[in-house]
């Protein structure tokens, strides 16, 4: 490109020198015959015309170069769009994977808290069990003759405590089952994440193999098309058959560009979904509420058992006092029985 520009500059300089020389000749020298002046003018016009045509040619070449670069930019933009689509699909997959990992971490944390609370509840239940049995035993061993109302209260209290005990045991078994389900769910979520990573890797490998196969088949089709063009140069081959084969081959090769792009679009449009995280978290919250309710029930039962135990001790003390009073009355009666004959002999 530099040499044509240099030639254009040389032509312009030659035209300027030629014109300057003509003006100087007219100004200094005496008037020349008109053929010389016409020759000078024609030479100047020819130089200007050459320079103008060279400039137009350079302009046309520049426009062609710009057209070529514009098409190259369009193709590059198409490639960049495909790369951007693949990058978006990859970023969406990474974001989904991070969400699954966060959900798995939250589920494991909630599971650990539930296990801790369940262990505390079981410990409190075991601590309460001997005292509850002693209370039930004391109520059962209440001495007779304490009145029908007291006996009825004993029976009601014992039945209530037994029923609450059975309910508590059933609640703890249900909580243990829930925690076990939560553990199974966490394991399934972890396996799901690992499976998704493996599936993404397999999908990427399949896409690469598919693109490689498409490139191979396209190259094979192009080579066959090349051989067909060589066969067409021979005179013994039917031209219509060759043209039909070439058209079929072109249709086959042109349809090989789509599978890789379609796979990328499917990956971006339909990312796989993990198990139902929200429902499982709600189940875990309900389980925690039940554990808290059982804690409160434990406290109420402990207070009730302590009150029953105090009442039982009071009843035992009263019974002992009555026994002592009765023993004193019996002793007085025996003394009266022993002293009654001697008193009768004195009176007689």
């Amino acid at each position: 490109m530099q040499q044509p520009w240099r030639a254009l500059m040389v032509l312009w300089l030659a035209a300027v020198v030629w014109g300057s020389a003509l003006l100087a000749l007219i100004w200094i020298a005496p008037p020349q015959p008109w053929p010389a002046t016409v020759a000078w003018g024609c030479g100047l016009a020819l130089l200007l015309l050459l320079a103008l045509s060279l400039g137009v040619w350079l302009r046309v070449e520049s426009l062609q170069s710009q057209s070529s670069s514009a098409q190259a930019r369009q193709e590059q933009a198409g490639d960049e769009l495909q790369i951007a689509a693949l990058q978006r699909a990859l970023a969406a997959e990474r974001g989904q994977r991070q969400q699954w990992q966060q959900a798995a971490a939250q589920a494991q944390q909630a599971q650990a808290q539930a296990q801790q609370r369940l262990a505390g509840a079981a410990h409190a239940l075991h601590a309460l069990e001997p005292r509850l049995h002693s209370v039930l035993h004391g109520l059962a061993c209440l001495p007779p003759g304490h009145g029908d109302a007291a006996a009825s209260a004993q029976s009601d209290t014992a039945q209530t405590l037994s029923a609450q005990w059975r309910e508590l045991a059933a609640d703890l078994a249900a909580q243990a089952e829930l925690v076990q389900q939560q553990r199974v769910w966490g394991d399934a979520l972890a396996r799901f994440g690992a499976d998704q990573e493996q599936a993404a890797a397999r999908l990427q490998q399949r896409s690469q193999r598919l693109a490689q196969t498409a490139a191979d088949v396209q190259l094979l089709g192009l080579n066959l098309r090349l051989q067909l063009s060589h066969l067409a140069q021979t005179a013994t081959v039917d031209a219509a058959t060759l043209e039909q084969a070439a058209a079929d081959l072109d249709a086959l090769v042109s349809g090989l560009d789509t599978p890789a792009a379609e796979a990328a679009e499917q990956t971006a449009a339909a990312p796989p979904q993990p198990p139902a995280i929200t429902a499982a978290q709600q189940t875990m919250a309900q389980a925690l509420q039940r554990v808290q309710r059982i804690d409160a029930l434990f406290a109420a039962w402990q207070a009730q058992a302590a009150a029953q135990h105090a009442r039982c001790a009071e009843w035992q003390q009263q019974v002992q006092q009555q026994h002592q009073a009765l023993a004193g009355v019996l002793q007085s009666l025996r003394e009266l029985q022993r002293g009654w004959p001697r008193q009768a002999e004195k009176n007689s």
């Binding site: 062609q64 070529s68 098409q71 192009l222 080579n223 090349l226 005179a235």
Partner: protein
């Protein structure tokens, strides 16, 4: 057979060029390239093709552009006038088939005198011939003569670069 001519399009450095399809024997992808030590960038090695060792010409390096010998390169095996070689290009496009009835409208021969390696251009195709019958020309495609390209690229340093032979390309 019927006077039609076919060209094979390829891309080097972002531009589309073409070769006469009659000279191209096969298109290879990632052939085993024998690279001798201290090989020049224009001729990085040799390829064995049908029992013949053929030198490889990196057309990108030859045209002072990005080297064409890379992972996605295509290698065009050509034979012409008892000579042969391999041209490494960036990509290969479709074949251009131009009937004899419209060739003169879309083919312009290049006069000798261009500096090497552009002196290996034997003509210009005005547009994609498949569309040019109905659409105006948008971009000319430079058609190279492989034998002339070989001479101007490989033997330029020996001052043996000859002008493009006239027998390789006939004016349509």
């Amino acid at each position: 057979m019927n006077g039609a001519q076919t060209w094979l399009q390829f891309r080097v450095g972002g531009q589309t060029h073409a070769l006469d399809a009659a000279a191209v024997r096969q298109i290879l992808r990632q052939p085993r390239l024998l690279q001798p030590p201290l090989a020049p960038a224009i001729c990085p090695g040799w390829v064995a093709w049908q029992g013949r060792p053929l030198p490889v010409l990196d057309l990108g390096a030859c045209l002072s552009r990005r080297p064409s010998v890379h992972g996605d390169a295509r290698y065009l095996v050509w034979t012409q006038a008892e000579q042969g070689g391999v041209l490494a290009v960036d990509a290969v496009g479709a074949l251009l088939h131009l009937p004899a009835t419209v060739r003169t409208q879309h083919w312009t021969p290049v006069a000798p005198g261009l500096p090497p390696p552009w002196s290996a251009i034997c003509g210009l195709l005005h547009a994609d011939p498949a569309d040019a019958i109905e659409l105006p020309a948008v971009e000319p495609v430079a058609v190279f003569d492989p034998l002339a390209l070989w001479q101007v690229c490989l033997f330029a340093d020996r001052r043996a670069a000859a002008p493009a032979p006239d027998g390789g390309w006939e004016e349509p």
